[in-house]
Structure formats: structure tokens, C-alpha cells
């Protein structure tokens, strides 16, 4: 394992019953980069993210995160995970939610900074059940990054939020990457792909292509990332 990689997924298989969610995926995420996991709904993005943070175990292959073979509970201290659904305690306030996730990671001193980053410090006393969807997503992000993880796994973090907030989110992500955090962001929105340093295109549980957005365009033979993706997907099927 090369120390330059935060995540090293090697020939991973995962099935749910007869459905093959991941069918021999190999990909590597370099430390400090924003890696975009792209693919249509049901492609295997969420399964891959859950595998990286040890929530599911692979039926074959290996997953190495921050130098440790997964599942390894010791690594989890250094991982932040934002689930697709804003998983929060609705009866607690914004600050209470963030403070809870800080406490279980032993990082109570990060609460103010995390709430500042997602611009919820002023709303810290609001009860989560009274917040808008966008604010909940921001609170959920704060919970994922409050312990300053080395690796941040974001499962479709911008689904259901308005374009303005999406721009803000990507601004947070870039600032974190600049500070040395590795980010894995899954999305099925192609215009987000251009904001990543490297991309992995996933379909039917397989990695179709990997590289920088420019590489993907070149491999797909199109200036448009979406067309390049469709071309690569079509090539694999034929």
C-alpha cells in the first residue's frame, strides 16, 4: 500500500442476495484530493462508501483506509461520514447534535469551528425538526466534520439543496481539501464532477473509468463530461 493513498480499494465484490452491488471495483484516492464518485442511481456508490467506512464487509477483495485494512474500528476516529439522508436527532438543537457527534469522537473543542464553517453558529439553538432541508444538510455536514477527520465521505451531499447552497458546500469542500483533508464525494450530478480533482465513474457495480475530469473527457471522446460518461458507459455495455 502506497502511503500517498487515503483509500485503496482492490478488486472488491459485494452482493445483496443475487444482486451484485459491486463487481470487482479497484480504485485509489490520493491524500488531500477531492475524489468524485460518479454514476447513476443504483450504480453502487453508496455501497462503496459504506464499505470504505466499514459498515458493510466485502465478499472479496480488500479495502485499505489510511493505511489500515477495513473493517478497523481504530480508523473510524479519522473518518467523517455524511449519509445521504440528513441523519440527525430531530428533537435536539443544532448545537446539541454537533456536540454529540463531537463527543463520540472525542473532539468537543471542534463544535464552534464546525458550526462556523457551515454558517449555523447563529442558529445553534434551533431545534433540528424546525429547520429547512438545506439547514439540516448543513448541520449534518457539521456533524461529519466536527472531529476534523482526515478522510471525509460524503454520500450525495448536495441532493435536494438549492444551487446557492450547493456552491457554498463546494466552497467548504475545497477549503477542507486545501487544509489536507481527503474528500470522497458521491454524486449523480455531472456538473459537480468538474469540481473534483479526480473522478471514478461507476455503473452496474463496476468502475468504468478513472482520472481527472480532463482525462475522462479524453477517454470518452467528448468535451462534455455527461456525453463522455454516456460514451464510456455505452462502450462497456457493447
Amino acid at each position: 500500500m502506497n502511503d500517498a493513498y487515503a483509500v485503496d480499494v482492490e478488486e472488491v465484490f459485494k452482493s445483496f442476495g443475487s444482486f451484485k452491488a459491486l463487481n470487482g471495483v479497484t480504485l485509489r484516492v490520493r491524500k488531500g484530493e477531492i475524489y468524485g464518485l460518479l454514476g447513476p442511481n443504483g450504480a453502487g456508490k453508496t455501497t462503496l462508501i459504506r464499505l470504505i467506512c466499514g459498515l458493510v464487509e466485502a465478499h472479496g477483495g480488500t479495502v485499505t483506509v489510511l493505511g489500515r485494512r477495513m473493517p478497523d474500528i481504530a480508523v473510524l476516529r479519522h473518518i467523517g461520514y455524511m449519509t445521504q439522508q440528513a441523519a440527525l436527532y430531530p428533537a435536539l438543537s443544532v448545537e446539541e447534535n454537533v456536540r454529540f457527534f463531537a463527543a463520540i469522537n472525542g473532539a468537543e473543542d471542534g463544535v464552534r469551528e464546525a458550526l462556523g464553517l457551515v454558517q449555523l453558529w447563529e442558529r445553534r439553538g434551533s431545534v433540528v425538526s424546525t429547520l429547512s432541508g438545506g439547514m439540516r444538510q448543513r448541520c449534518s455536514l457539521a456533524c461529519a466534520l466536527v472531529h476534523r477527520p482526515e478522510l471525509l465521505l460524503l454520500d450525495e451531499p448536495t441532493v435536494g439543496i438549492d444551487p446557492q447552497l450547493r456552491v457554498q458546500f463546494w466552497d467548504y469542500f475545497r477549503r477542507m481539501a486545501a487544509d489536507g483533508t481527503t474528500l470522497v464525494v458521491s454524486s449523480h450530478v455531472m456538473d459537480e464532477a468538474d469540481r473534483c480533482q479526480r473522478l471514478g465513474l461507476i455503473q452496474y457495480g463496476r468502475l468504468l473509468a478513472e482520472g481527472s475530469p480532463a482525462d475522462i473527457r479524453a477517454q470518452g471522446g467528448s468535451q462534455n463530461l455527461e456525453e463522455a460518461f454516456l460514451a464510456l458507459a455505452g462502450r462497456r455495455e457493447s
Binding site: 458493510v56 481504530a74 473510524l76 461520514y81 449519509t83 439522508q85 436527532y89 457527534f101 469522537n105 472525542g106
Partner: protein
């Protein structure tokens, strides 16, 4: 009002149930299980209570009544020495003993008999078969022997409880524990499911938290609530309802706390087998009702059919209810081996459920 729209709603409802086989099964299986259990409990080949007979009668009546009692279908009568009676009541080998005094036949001849009936008294359900059997045997025999009508006035003595005790005193002890057990179980199972359905459990599992820490944290949190509730229930039962209590209040509270901890862990464990709050609530009739029927709250375990006694013997509530009655009705303290056993079994169940809950946590998450 449109018939078509109403039909659409009705059809939608039934379609949903078609895919939720578990709910359908519960809808049709649970009533049969519960009523079947009740039927077997009340009409199955019930065991009858053991009753000691001590006849000191110098005349023939005592022996005649004793032999009639031995053929009674209400009780299982055995000969004992009058001096052993109280000891046997205390060790639980008999639920009552009947003493015919030396002048018993003479009493009948003078028109009024008063045998002494000593009842254990902590479970009212065990008393009536004893008095019924005695009355049936007495009525015909006493008048045959005396050759005249005889007035039958047994002198009833209670080892525990007694005339000052009403129904609430007997059931109250058990219900104080049951109320706490039931409510804590429902709240725990539903909140643990919330943790799963709102996605926060997934987050917790992707954190450095260990499974045991999650279960223990939950247990402590709910236990705090349960202890406050236990204290409230206890104060209400003793101060407002004025349920008789012979025992130490702290011991009652301790037993309630053990029941609450068992209920918390039962809730956490069973939440692993439900996918929604709806399915969680379905555990109530299956988990709680049989325990209420079989734990001795209403029907004494000693007179249940033998097969149900085995079932009663593995239910935690049986021991909890027994412990509560031992404390409140019998005034037992921690030197009592019965109470030690009850507390140990309930505590053992708590540990078993903590281990089971922790072990099944990951399985349902993956």
C-alpha cells in the same frame, strides 16, 4: 361522496398489508395464540394446590373429612403434623393446611364446627380451591356424623396478608413492577427503532463507538428515566393507593429498577427484529401478554398446567412478580433465599439481553 375514491383507499390499504406478511400473520396468529393460552391456562389439565391435613380429632369426623378431601378434585391433600404446618407454608411445599381440633366430632354433634384453615395468603388465587374443597367435604359428612344440620364456620388464618388485605393489595405488588416493565419496554423499542430509521444509527456505527458502548449508553439513559418513573409509581402506590407493604421500600425500588433494566434491554434486543415502529408495536401482544398471563400476576403459577409452568419458569417477569410479592406481601428481605433467587434470575436476564442486543446490533445494520 364518491364510491370509487372510497374503494381506492380501501384497496390501497389491503394492498399494503399483502406485502407486509408479518403484520397479516400477527393479525391472525396473535389472537389464536393469546386466546389459546388463556383457554389452556383456565381449562387445561390444571394442577391443584397442595394442602396439608392435620387431624387431631378423637372422634371419627376428622378422619372422614380428611379422606373426603383426599379424593377432592380441587386440591391435593396430604397428611401432615400440625406442628410442621407453618414451616411447610413458608417453604412453599403447601399453600394451606387444615387443622381438625381434638373435639372436632363433638363440635359437630353440638351443631357448629370450626376447623382451622391456615392459608399462605400471598396469592389469593390459591385460597378459594382450599375453602371450596373443605366446604364440599364438610357439608354432607358433618350432618351424617352428627345426625343433625351442622353450622360450618372455618377459622381462617393467614401467614401473609389477611383480612385487612383487599384485591389491590395482592395485585398491586405485581402491578407496580409490571407498569414499569411494560412502559419502559415500549419506549425503548420505539426509540431504538427511531435511531435506526432516522439514519443516526448508521452514523454511530461509522464512528469509533463500539457496539457495547451504544447498548450500555442507551441502557443507562433509559434506566435514569425508568428509575424516576419507578419512584413515582412506588410513591403513588404506597402513599395514594395505600397498597399494603410489609417490606423495605428500597428493596421494592431495587426490584423495580432491575425490571426496568431488563425491559430496556429487551426493547433494544427486539428492536433488531423490527423494521418500523409499526412492527415494533406488534411485539407488545406477543411479548407482554403471554408474560402477564403466565407470570403469576393473575393465575398462580403453582396451579397452571405443567407445560405452562415450564414456560412460566423461563419468563423473567415470573421471577420479578414473585420477588415483588415476596417483598411487599411477605416482607422478605435479602436474607430470603427466594428473593435472592428472584433478583438473581432477573439480573441474569438483564445480562443475557445486553449480550444478545450487542451481538445482533451489527447484523441488522449491514
Amino acid at each position: 361522496m364518491s364510491g370509487r375514491r372510497v374503494r381506492a383507499i380501501t384497496r390501497r390499504l389491503l394492498q399494503g398489508f399483502r406485502r407486509d406478511r408479518r403484520t397479516v400473520a400477527l393479525l391472525f396468529v396473535a389472537p389464536i395464540v393469546i386466546l389459546g393460552l388463556l383457554g389452556y391456562l383456565m381449562r387445561g389439565s390444571s394442577n391443584v394446590p397442595n394442602v396439608g391435613i392435620a387431624s387431631q380429632d378423637s372422634g371419627p369426623l376428622g378422619a372422614l373429612v380428611a379422606s373426603s378431601l383426599k379424593s377432592s378434585s380441587h386440591i391435593h391433600a396430604v397428611d401432615i403434623n400440625a406442628s410442621d404446618g407453618d414451616a411447610k407454608l413458608k417453604d412453599g411445599s403447601i399453600v394451606a393446611y387444615i387443622l381438625f381440633p381434638a373435639d372436632f366430632t363433638r363440635q359437630a354433634q353440638s351443631g357448629s364446627v370450626a376447623p382451622d384453615v391456615h392459608l399462605e395468603g400471598s396469592q389469593p388465587g390459591e385460597d378459594s380451591p382450599v375453602l371450596q374443597a373443605l366446604q364440599e367435604s364438610m357439608i354432607s359428612l358433618a350432618s351424617q356424623v352428627a345426625g343433625r344440620s351442622v353450622n360450618f364456620q372455618p377459622r381462617v388464618h393467614h401467614l401473609y396478608g389477611g383480612r385487612n388485605y383487599d384485591t389491590l393489595d395482592y395485585f398491586g405488588a405485581a402491578f407496580v413492577g409490571l407498569v414499569v416493565f411494560f412502559l419502559v419496554f415500549v419506549i425503548t423499542i420505539v426509540s431504538f427503532l427511531n435511531e435506526r430509521s432516522q439514519g443516526t444509527l448508521e452514523r454511530l456505527m461509522a464512528s469509533p463507538l463500539r457496539r457495547g458502548e451504544i447498548v450500555l449508553g442507551y441502557m443507562l439513559g433509559f434506566t435514569v428515566l425508568a428509575l424516576i418513573q419507578s419512584a413515582e409509581v412506588l410513591v403513588f402506590a404506597l402513599a395514594v393507593l395505600k397498597i399494603h407493604n410489609q417490606g423495605n421500600v428500597l428493596l421494592i425500588f431495587g426490584m423495580e429498577a432491575l425490571m426496568a433494566i431488563a425491559a430496556v434491554n429487551l426493547g433494544i434486543f427486539l428492536s433488531m427484529f423490527a423494521r418500523s415502529e409499526f412492527q415494533a408495536v406488534q411485539f407488545i401482544p406477543l411479548v407482554v401478554v403471554p408474560q402477564v398471563l403466565l407470570s403469576g400476576i393473575i393465575f398462580p403459577v403453582s396451579i397452571e398446567p405443567t407445560a405452562l409452568q415450564w414456560l412460566s419458569d423461563i419468563l423473567p417477569l415470573t421471577y420479578a412478580v414473585n420477588g415483588m410479592r415476596d417483598i411487599m406481601v411477605k416482607g422478605a428481605d435479602l436474607t430470603s433465599s427466594g428473593l435472592q433467587l428472584d433478583a438473581a434470575v432477573v439480573a441474569g436476564f438483564c445480562i443475557l439481553l445486553i449480550v444478545a442486543g450487542t451481538a445482533t446490533l451489527r447484523r441488522r445494520l449491514a
